[in-house]
Symmetry: C2
Subunit: 439 residues, 2 copies
């Protein structure tokens, strides 16, 4: 995206609503919009907030230049077009930290300003938060399942080329060790990683007897610390040839197909017998959190994860919505069936025992004081992100958000880390009444 | 993406394989890589090729400038870096037309040139084709289910902001009438559409009794042809108020929640009783191809489709792979379990009866003549896309590809249009042997 305007990552109806509001004088009413999810996908126990700093960055490029004005001029009146030419968001935004959890009803983002300036940010906010949070939420489960073993994100080829970059960032935030995606390395400083391609072996084996030539070429260029791909033909032969070529100092072998648990045990034994006791085993091939967990007792050193992480492992979007909750200080709420929202600007605290274990999240009216029950620690969940249209100075780095989540995962009640379907890890309680629907 | 380099939408291992191939002299071997899908997702009957022209466009920006060189210099040797500085793809690409069908094993793309230049295009090619084809494939099923009623794509908020633009394009290609996404309007000329937002009603109803004020504001600004959103509170009251404010010439009402079939019938009766017989009914809210089909007998005029289309309705990626199939004229193929590929550069024809109904697809060796059984029409499926690194001049427009698919859908055997799980609509046969796996 860089310095390209982000203003057209917007649905047309936001502009037509703006036009109507400017015409009837309601455009300058002070509003609060909130982002929240009505439920977690698929019986998940927690969600992970991601994308916040991408959103703050995109917001700074949200302006209508000539190219953007040309498009909206096709359906907007002159007054609205003139208003848009001068537009810069000048309101305030608070939100959950990147790398924090969210649960059904958590007020993940609070956008405050005039109706006109807030209504325009709906699509951009949701696109970024829904995508990045979906990936981070799936990735965090995989990281838990891997139980300390490093994971490489390698799913770029399975998703849109720009989604891939954001997905690599979100997976790293969630605890992945590295990515194969070079644009994510460049743009976000995610550590890069690469192994070997079947194509390289095939390139050297047109007579089908010379896998060794490929391994020799790779080791000569990349050193014995490289990872050789041993499953192009027969894995046992592949491992034998790999150690013959590279010696027992070979960095790693990669297995990308077959029954990965069985093959990992077999290859580990073979490597050990060949004296390559420090050679690592990298496995890949349709791994998701369940497959990763199933390999926990097998001698796997590194997981390569592709498709499942970049498509959110069954939940490619986080399902967050952006709703008007307050106008001129008065709470408003929709009453549509199954889509009710709760009026009023809100804040939230998360309560924990002195052991650090989370107990519940309490959402309370922004005008009220934060609840702080005796005997529990209470942590405010919303931090200032934008003031008067300008990003606050203390945006955390990606590394800081990554550490924040890693520390947070330790605080979940143990059942919150289960992969099976169930209730959210902690309940969300609304401090002032019980009428809010949370799933 | 515009003129930004696309070279880092690439996995690191493609560069390390390039480095090894340059070092051992294999980099200049003449290669053919092919893109194909081993199976269609989820019992689908056909896939729709999309993204081809985005790929050709991205290819023209695939070069390593200073920013890209800086990143790859961290892990590559000087010789490879020097080679990359001069790199431009100079090979040939053939592929299926955008808007054509594909089936398991269809050689959707054929990339030919040196190993060095072809290996670098794997991730970019797959990212674009896997994403865009997943969306177009899901969207085409929805278009069939809608049975001629127009559909608006409005899913931008549920996916990455750039995926959203490509998804709007793919949905339009597949037969959607329009999109809410303004960047897709700007970049690809997709017709734009917008209705009304709950936030606009809420903005005017802080006393909860004044839905009419919102409708008046909208009609004053946008005319009686606008679409009013009637489900913020009570739908019957909403419809009554809408017609009172706009008169019987009101363009449309939108229902975004509840049992859409029941509500559509009820609202149609109410509108007719109020004399608003030409007022249309737009429905939206978690619609997928099955929900759309279920509304076929109800008085719905327009479908608004969001989440399900932009995430591929259960299949967010098309699962296509990019495989080396030929080196210096010699077929090569991987033998990994369940991931076998079929060696040799290929082409394909699709056979049909003189009624136009498709019979089968035949994939044949590129060096052989096209099969043409007596009594059947045979159409070549691969067209030249790139020659000597340069896009061919006759790239179809988005409108042409859209018409191409619309015509193609008429040629499927009737069971090919079924939404239920099953076999591909037509079989893919390999002309020279039976050893290829096509599940």
């Amino acid at each position: 995206m860089s310095s390209q305007s982000s203003a057209l990552f917007t649905d047309q109806y936001e502009l037509t609503m703006l036009s109507a509001a400017l015409a009837d004088g309601s455009a300058n009413r002070r509003c609060c919009f909130e982002v929240f999810a009505r439920h977690l996908p698929d019986g998940r126990r927690y969600g992970v907030v991601a994308g916040t700093s991408r959103l703050v960055s995109a917001l700074s490029n949200f302006h209508f230049g000539d190219a953007e004005i040309e498009v909206v001029s096709r359906f907007l009146d002159a007054a609205t077009i003139g208003w848009l030419r001068d537009f810069r968001f000048s309101g305030d935004i608070d939100g959950y930290r990147e790398g924090d959890f969210y649960f059904p009803g958590s007020p993940i983002l609070s956008v405050r300003g005039t109706f006109a300036e807030c209504v325009l940010l709906e699509t951009l906010s949701l696109s970024i938060l829904n995508h990045d949070s979906a990936i981070a939420s799936a990735a965090a489960r995989m990281v838990s399942a891997a139980d300390g073993r490093p994971m490489v994100e390698m799913g770029a080829r399975r998703t849109h080329e720009e989604s891939a970059v954001a997905a690599a960032r979100a997976a790293y935030l969630a605890g992945f060790a590295s990515t194969s995606n070079l644009e994510a390395v460049r743009r976000y400083g995610v550590p890069g990683a690469g192994t070997a391609a079947h194509a390289f072996t095939l390139l050297h084996t047109t007579d089908r007897t010379n896998e060794a030539a490929a391994f020799r070429g790779q080791v000569a260029a990349l050193g014995v610390g490289t990872t050789l791909l041993v499953d192009t033909y027969d894995i046992t032969n592949g491992v034998k040839t790999a150690v013959e070529v590279a010696g027992p100092e070979l960095g790693a072998v990669r297995i990308d197909s077959g029954d990965l648990g069985v093959l990992a045990r077999q290859v580990r034994n073979q490597l050990d017998d060949l004296g390559a006791t420090a050679t690592k085993i990298v496995v890949s091939g349709d791994l998701d959190e369940y497959a990763i967990a199933a390999l926990r007792s097998d001698p796997v050193d590194v997981y390569g994860v592709g498709t499942s992480v970049v498509v959110g492992s069954g939940a490619p979007t986080a399902g967050m919505v952006y709703k008007l909750v307050e106008v001129d200080g008065i709470p408003v709420e929709k009453r549509s069936s199954n889509k009710a929202s709760r009026g009023g600007s809100k804040r939230a605290v998360r309560l924990s025992r002195d052991t650090g274990t989370l107990v519940e999240e309490v959402v309370y009216p922004a005008h009220a004081g934060a609840p702080h029950p005796a005997g529990l620690e209470a942590r405010e969940l919303m931090v200032p992100l934008v003031r008067g249209g300008v990003a606050t100075l203390d945006t955390p780095t990606l590394e800081e958000s990554r550490s924040y989540l890693a520390a947070g995962l330790v605080s979940l009640p143990w059942e919150g880390l289960r992969l099976s379907h169930g209730e959210p890890a902690i309940p969300v309680r609304f401090a002032d009444s019980g009428s809010w629907r949370v799933r």
